[in-house]
């Protein structure tokens, strides 16, 4: 692999700043690699470097952007047939912000349709391959972004996380993924899946890059009523030890349901944390087992409403049918949406429908409160909560597509923090063999912090990262 693409984003920015490299050289190297992508990580790659400022703190570095983000004049399809070829007339706030800081969009990445999925197998544009083993999934829904960063096609990428869609693919691809505190990054221009859960976040090769990119993503956006920005400027992490750090391990998420290989790497990480000076204690998060159920009511419910606008009238796919209004709607949506999206629309509609609201949506909102209360109690005692990010390493393409519930259960570790709006970061913490045999694959360690405590979380993650010494270069061949 070329020298340029061996550099982390920060290193590249550094070298550009010193004149050792030009911004266009860096962009060109990544663009060419992206254009030659064999993983199907991209649905659109720039033909050339886009016009625009290359000065600014991000030095014109290429950025891969999940197709869920609206980018003016560039296809933004959310992994769906119903938005095939759609060119938005505006750009998402977070992308604009990063462009203002000097980022240049090198490509739009493949994803599960409307961010619904955990394997990128729900894309209307084909699945994405995991760079570590091309017969396996990269995770989802931000599979394309994760694969692109892991394979060295982009130094960093934007993804979105609703129930784990940044953290889980980061774990399966051996890279860093951060889901920030809800409200710290604007959702304006981010095609909505589940409004009260969706958050944009960075995929990077290391924790430093994640801090750097996230630093430029936070803002209070007047166009997003739910955005609050971040009360602290995000700093580059420096911690090398974990002295006095109290880590909590929820027993509900670190036992049954987690693959032995993943657990082994997890415990090794806990051991390392203790060696670095942290105290590690198990505790209980009583409503964690119910979080999955609540999530699979709330997210589909909000999605069922958010996706009503795809009706063939103002943009996107249009199927005329027999010429009636009913046929226009039902035919367009039937042809335009894939299985998983349809399943979630149906469940979501059911949960909100007359007679069922209290039992499903109402109760799920209450479970959400309980989960938040569980975390609040835990953060009285702990500085961060640690879990494996995903219960297994990357599984084979097609392995779980016949069993939606099995696919959903892959989110058990990531969903609780989503419900509570708390920040969570996944860092690669080792390798493990999959249960079906075969080469070892990356595992991920998740750290969850109290709201707005990203700086602390990044420091803990950085300290661990330095000592874990995970090497992801194999995937970047």
């Amino acid at each position: 692999m070329s020298d340029i693409r061996d550099l982390t984003a920060r290193e590249a920015i550094d070298q550009i700043g010193r004149g050792a490299l030009s911004s266009d050289e860096v962009f060109g190297a990544y663009r060419d690699a992206s254009a030659a992508d064999e993983l199907n990580a991209y649905t659109w790659v720039a033909d050339e470097a886009p016009a625009g400022a290359t000065d600014g703190p991000l030095a014109g570095l290429p950025l891969a952007v999940k197709d869920l983000f609206c980018t003016e004049g560039i296809p933004s399809q959310a992994g769906s047939r119903i938005l095939e070829g759609y060119l938005p007339p505006y750009t998402a706030t977070v992308v604009e912000q990063l462009q203002a800081a000097g980022s240049r969009v090198v490509g739009k990445t493949n994803q599960d349709e409307f961010a619904m999925g955990s394997s990128n197998e729900n894309s209307a544009y084909g699945p994405v391959a995991n760079p570590w083993d091309r017969e396996r999934v990269p995770g989802g829904s931000s599979g394309g972004s994760a694969a692109a960063v892991a394979a060295g096609l982009a130094p960093w990428a934007l993804g979105t996380d609703t129930g784990g869609s940044i953290r889980q693919p980061a774990a399966l691809c051996g890279i860093v993924g951060l889901k920030p505190t809800y409200g710290t990054v604007s959702r304006y221009g981010m095609i909505a899946f589940a409004s009260s859960l969706d958050q944009a976040g960075p995929f990077t090769r290391d924790v430093t890059d994640a801090a750097l990119l996230y630093h430029h993503m936070t803002a209070r956006d007047p166009r997003d009523s739910t955005s609050v920005g971040h009360p602290e400027p995000i700093a580059l992490p420096t911690a090398t030890k974990l002295d006095g750090v109290r880590l909590g391990v929820p027993e509900e998420l670190t036992g049954e349901g987690i693959d032995p290989g993943v657990l082994k790497a997890f415990h090794a990480s806990l051991q390392l944390a203790q060696e670095l000076g942290a105290s590690v204690e198990t505790f209980t998060l009583p409503h964690a087992p119910h979080a999955l159920a609540a999530y699979y009511v709330l997210a589909p419910a909000e999605a069922s409403s958010n996706l009503s606008r795809y009706d063939g009238v103002r943009y996107g796919l249009r199927i005329e049918g027999d010429g009636t209004l009913l046929d226009l709607y039902t035919g367009t949506r039937e042809a335009g949406f894939g299985d998983e999206v349809k399943r979630r629309i149906l469940i979501g509609t059911y949960a909100l429908s007359s007679g069922y609201y209290d039992a499903y949506y109402g109760r799920a909102q209450q479970v959400r409160t309980k989960v938040a209360q569980d975390f609040a109690a835990a953060f009285q005692r702990f500085d961060a909560i640690v879990t494996p990010t995903a219960p297994s390493v990357a599984f084979k393409l097609g392995e779980k597509t016949g069993d939606p519930l099995a696919m959903y259960k892959g989110d058990i570790c990531t969903i609780p923090a989503s419900l509570a709006g708390l920040p969570g970061i996944s860092i690669p913490n080792g390798m493990a063999a999959p249960p079906d045999g075969g080469r070892e694959l990356p595992t991920g360690l998740q750290l969850i912090g109290p709201a707005f405590r990203e700086n602390r979380l990044l420091d803990y993650a950085y300290a661990l990262e330095q000592h874990l010494g995970f090497d992801g270069s194999e995937a970047r061949s």
């Binding site: 759609y86 060119l87 007339p89 809800y182 409200g183 009260s196 007047p222 009523s225 739910t226 609050v228 087992p289 119910h290 999955l292 159920a293 609540a294 699979y296 009511v297 069922s304 009503s308 063939g312 009238v313 103002r314 943009y315 996107g316 796919l317 249009r318 009636t324 209004l325 009913l326 046929d327 226009l328 709607y329 039902t330 949506r333 039937e334 299985d339 349809k342 399943r343 629309i345 149906l346 469940i347 509609t349 059911y350 429908s353 039992a359 109402g362 109760r363 799920a364 909102q365 209450q366 479970v367 959400r368 409160t369 309980k370 938040a372 939606p404 519930l405 959903y408 509570a420 709006g421």
Partner: protein, 95 residues
């Protein structure tokens, strides 16, 4: 747990023209999911307030100042069917 009829009813509400195969398959798959979701019905949630927003703020109000609207060409360029300066739809009354 969710019958064919219920799937059809909900499909109508959400404007999806499902095939017979889909109705059958979704009824099975969704029953599976709903079974799991049932775990929340056993919880004692008396007096627990629902969370509608995780962010604890109020009043993101916008001043009543006009901002530029989109040029018509920009929106029509993405529209599948345009006529008479508007978006063409089958009449709701006709069917």
């Amino acid at each position: 747990m969710i019958s064919r009829e219920q799937v059809l009813h909900v499909a109508t509400l959400s404007r999806l023209a499902l095939t017979d195969e889909e109705v059958d398959r979704y009824a099975v798959e969704l029953s599976d999911v709903l079974d799991h979701i049932e775990t929340i019905s056993a919880l004692d949630l008396d007096g627990v307030p629902p969370t509608a927003h995780v962010v604890e703020v109020a009043n993101a109000l916008r001043p009543d100042e006009p901002r530029p609207s989109l040029p018509r060409e920009a929106i029509f360029s993405q529209a599948p069917a345009v006529a008479d300066d508007g978006f063409l739809v089958p009449s709701p009354q006709a069917s």
